[in-house]
Symmetry: C2
Subunit: 590 residues, 2 copies
């Protein structure tokens, strides 16, 4: 037997008991003839005591222990004189009577502490040591608890977890598939699923009624900071539902998570916002509504004052930042630089300071009178001491830039606290997105998304105006999940394929088995999927999903610890009927 | 709103209530001016009634409904006159006042009934319709409940579910890996995991203490009846444990499953049997102990009687089949044919009938006297009316043949009831297996399996005798899971690699990151993995794991419904720097 207790469970009530602990040496402190060793495991830290006067040999043994040695200590639980109120085992210590080194350890390349001295790269290479740190392990414990509670909730709601296949067929639409050569079917490939979308819709055709799966998904994309080639989705689908039914179930799930994980109660329904309003007031389809500071459109109010910048553009808009009228020239220049960064792309920034005395100070004073500025300020309900910031240009681009500026100002003013959560449903997304380059419509979500029944008459005449029965759950400006009511009518589905420029042959080739299935009694159905990695990151207050994944990959899709991917044997290639032919590098687009 | 109730929930207490149901048309029965429609969903079947006298238009509409149409029916719950006691909703019916066809259906290619008229191939092609059948869906509901209970138990026991990566590095040892070409790392490949073995051991090095995962695993093997290229494993690992700790935890898990899923109590500990005894008494490392009928070794007892068949072989053994002395010549010939099949490979079968009068009738009468036969019968404790069956030959092969014969006779005698469960731990597996062809030892499990501490002194001198600290859980002759205590000592691990013929370089290339990790304080650890597909099949009484998988593949690794794998676009191949070069087919070995 390696232990009687864990390193986190002994309390003053155990004083006098015999125990055996096993764990890692966190640190040793030698104070004259006394040596103290902190022994650590997943559950906590306990202090071991070695007294030279009691057992000199044992004391010497303890003095030789190195950091991260794995040890087993036998002894008696005793009350501590100097109690440590910061840890739960801080009232006791172990008077050790026997010590065994279970395994030695080389000196780790960084300290196993919450604030480690190790940089990102070395911690990724030695991920197994990084995972020993409490704060990293706690993210994964949180992940476990979140998935456990999700499963409990969905089980209560009659959802069945069904595993769909990982080795599926490739569908060239959308992001790139990872493919898997088939040895038994030479020249053919499986693909790894980007999502279980088709299979979950098939399960509805099969009458499964309520399905979910916490499913690994795969996308061979060029990776950005917050993307991983494999990620995890909480994938759900329901039959005989309208949008309202879906929102109620998953709002309930999120409320239960907030209650059980964060002990936060949301008594009221989550607010809902149309996509149109989200763009208009927040410049984003995933507004952070922890704070107000809405975008205000000003094109009419500012036009006709000979200010060519405002007169020559289709859109002028701004935000009002409370209490920032005192911003210095230097601070305003910083903000101008901020909005002019290529990622944001504004041409410049106009400000109006609402001074304490009721006057205005603006970078466009010479075009606008005090009354003009007062009228503008009134549109923001601006108060004395507020700072109004204006941007101008192309509508969508400028709204997006204002969104970034708003988030920046919100962060500066402390409105984006990680422990405040503001959930929101964004609804009524447009069904189609127009692409200027190819001069055609694309599905905003995917070709199975149902149009809003009220807008079906517009499909032929005004496609761009058709709303989808699609919805996203947004919390703190993060899109946690989204979904839609699906099309279950074959004729409407064919109409959609037509509008999206699919020939029937092409649609059949890509989605044939789903289209066939729909001829055998497909029920009305809909669902959604949450990004588990994002959800855990949000709850943990992390900046990157990488920190809640046990063994993540870097931006080149590489596991630097395990050195994957790697070359494979020629015999493996031969068996797969493959030859590697590396072409000279050409710049790769998206 | 599509429904107020499901098709499985209305009872006599609901009589008089207004309701809306949605579901599929199971069948329609026209009886004069009355038409009855059974509407079905996942939860049950409810009878709808249409009366020509009440509403002729609605009645006509009902008469046009086809099988598997999706409908919505509004009406009033009423008590039935002819109650159907076979279904839970059988006391009521719905007097329909409005009917809507939500979707039509082509006539399905087979009947959606428990006993369908569809063959295997057509049901696999239309798997989404096959999944509508109650008995198929129930297997997947059972799978959901089993995984849910497993998670609940392991969570209670402080196990953390951690997702390990699906895109990993290839390890050429063992079965073939599926590989995934990396676009971002030209010429390099990921592999899909055959199991999370290395990662779960790393998590122990990371101090996770207790890990589990219900994990997809992949093996590119030539498929036999009960294999799938992707399968699901309940993968577990624990730190600071000895074999006993592991067995206790997972015996507890299995007992909880039997209690919650089958309402079966196992009050006593599961029996344990050494691998050596399993081979000796059952000719198998996974004995079906629902019945006794142990193998008896007879080489000494039968030698020296001039019967050259017995004299010339190293092993003679047999079983005693109770009450079968009356077997006819024809029946015995059938058994002879059975053991002579190539899969079993015996040369012939010797029988001894223990007649009611105390005499013996045997196929080898001329070599053995009545006293000789009596002595043989005594070794089996044979009674009057029993039938003794003997095989002879090479020891291992003959034991295996006797095992098959024993299972066959057990089945004939009704000893292998699917609702009787006989769990067993098989322990003390040999650490190494000798391979005659390559003239060297292989690891019976894998190179990380710890030898039994009592046998370490034999490693150099008598490797074949070294027992592993490895264990399998066997139920009803099915190996449900297995595992071992792992080596945590780097020196012992290096010794193992040496004995297995790995050079240090080769070991480093394949398992380098694990070996490095072990230098930083690896705790003693061990674990096991259960095959989820087999476990569900056992509980469901299925003959193939395929029936508890939503979308299984056939023996060529093909999903005939979705037509995967398939050809991919040339542009995809180009991006992956791959060229297909199909060589002329050569016969493929294992």
């Amino acid at each position: 037997m390696f232990r009687i207790h864990t390193c986190g469970e002994l309390r003053i009530a155990n004083a006098g008991q015999h125990t055996i602990l096993s764990g890692w040496v966190q640190r040793t402190r030698k104070m004259g003839g006394m040596t103290f060793v902190d022994i650590r495991d997943r559950y906590g830290i306990t202090q071991l005591v070695f007294n030279q006067d009691v057992n000199a040999g044992l004391w010497e043994q303890a003095n030789k222990l190195g950091r991260e040695f794995v040890i087993q200590a036998t002894g008696e639980v005793a009350e501590r004189i100097n109690k440590n109120r910061n840890i739960e085992t801080g009232e006791i210590e172990i008077l050790v009577s026997a010590l065994q080194v279970l395994n030695e350890s080389k000196t780790p390349p960084f300290t196993i502490e919450d604030n480690t001295d190790g940089g990102d790269d070395i911690r990724m290479k030695y991920r197994y040591l990084d995972l020993r740190r409490n704060n990293v392990r706690e993210n994964l414990e949180l992940r476990h608890r979140i998935t456990f509670e999700i499963r409990r909730y969905l089980d209560q709601m009659n959802f069945l977890e069904v595993e769909t296949p990982i080795l599926i067929g490739s569908t060239p639409e959308g992001a790139r598939d990872f493919v898997v050569p088939s040895r038994m079917n030479p020249g053919e490939f499986y693909a790894l699923p980007q999502s279980p979308q088709l299979f979950k819709q098939l399960l509805m055709v099969s009458g499964f009624d309520r399905y979910f799966q916490i499913a690994k998904c795969f996308r061979d994309e060029d990776l950005r900071a917050d993307r991983q080639p494999e990620f995890t989705q909480i994938d759900c689908e329901m039959s005989f539902v309208e949008q309202e039914d879906v929102l109620v179930i998953f709002e309930g799930m999120m409320k239960q998570l907030f209650k059980f994980i964060k002990n936060i109660d949301f008594d009221n329904p989550f607010p809902r916002m149309t996509w149109h309003d989200a763009m208009k007031y927040y410049g984003s389809d995933k507004p952070d509504i922890r704070f107000d500071m809405k975008l205000v459109e000003l094109k009419e109010a500012v036009s006709g004052h000979d200010f060519v910048v405002f007169d020559s553009v289709p859109y002028v808009g701004g935000i009002c930042v409370g209490g920032c009228a005192g911003y210095t020239r230097k601070q305003l220049d910083e903000l101008t630089d901020f909005v002019k960064r290529p990622q944001i792309g504004a041409k410049g920034l106009v400000y109006i300071r609402c001074e304490a005395d009721g006057t205005f100070k603006s970078s466009v004073d010479k075009f606008y009178s005090t009354d003009d500025l007062k009228a503008i300020a009134a549109k923001f309900n601006a108060q004395s001491g507020d700072l109004i910031l204006l941007l101008a240009g192309n509508k969508i681009k400028t709204q997006k830039a204002l969104c970034e500026l708003r988030l920046e100002m919100g962060a500066r003013l402390g409105f984006r606290e990680k422990n405040v959560f503001a959930p929101l449903w964004v609804i009524d997304f447009p069904l189609f997105e127009w692409d200027d380059e190819t001069q055609r419509y694309y599905a905003t979500h995917h070709p199975f998304t149902s149009p809003n029944p009220d807008d079906i008459h517009l499909l032929d005449t005004d496609s761009g105006k058709v709303r989808a029965t699609a919805y996203d759950m947004v919390i703190n400006g993060i899109e946690l999940g989204g979904g839609s009511i699906r099309i279950h009518d074959s004729q409407l589905q064919n109409k959609m394929f037509e509008l999206l420029g699919f020939t029937l042959e092409k649609a059949q080739a890509q989605f044939g088995f789903l289209m066939n299935a729909f001829q055998y009694g497909a029920p009305p159905h809909g669902g959604l999927a949450f990004g588990l990695d994002r959800l855990v990151s949000l709850f943990a207050g992390l900046d990157s999903i990488r920190d809640c994944i046990a063994f993540p990959k870097n931006n080149s899709g590489r596991d630097v610890m395990a050195n994957a991917p790697s070359k494979i044997d020629q015999s493996q290639l031969d068996e797969l009927n493959l030859v590697i032919d590396i072409k000279p590098q050409t710049p790769k687009g998206a």
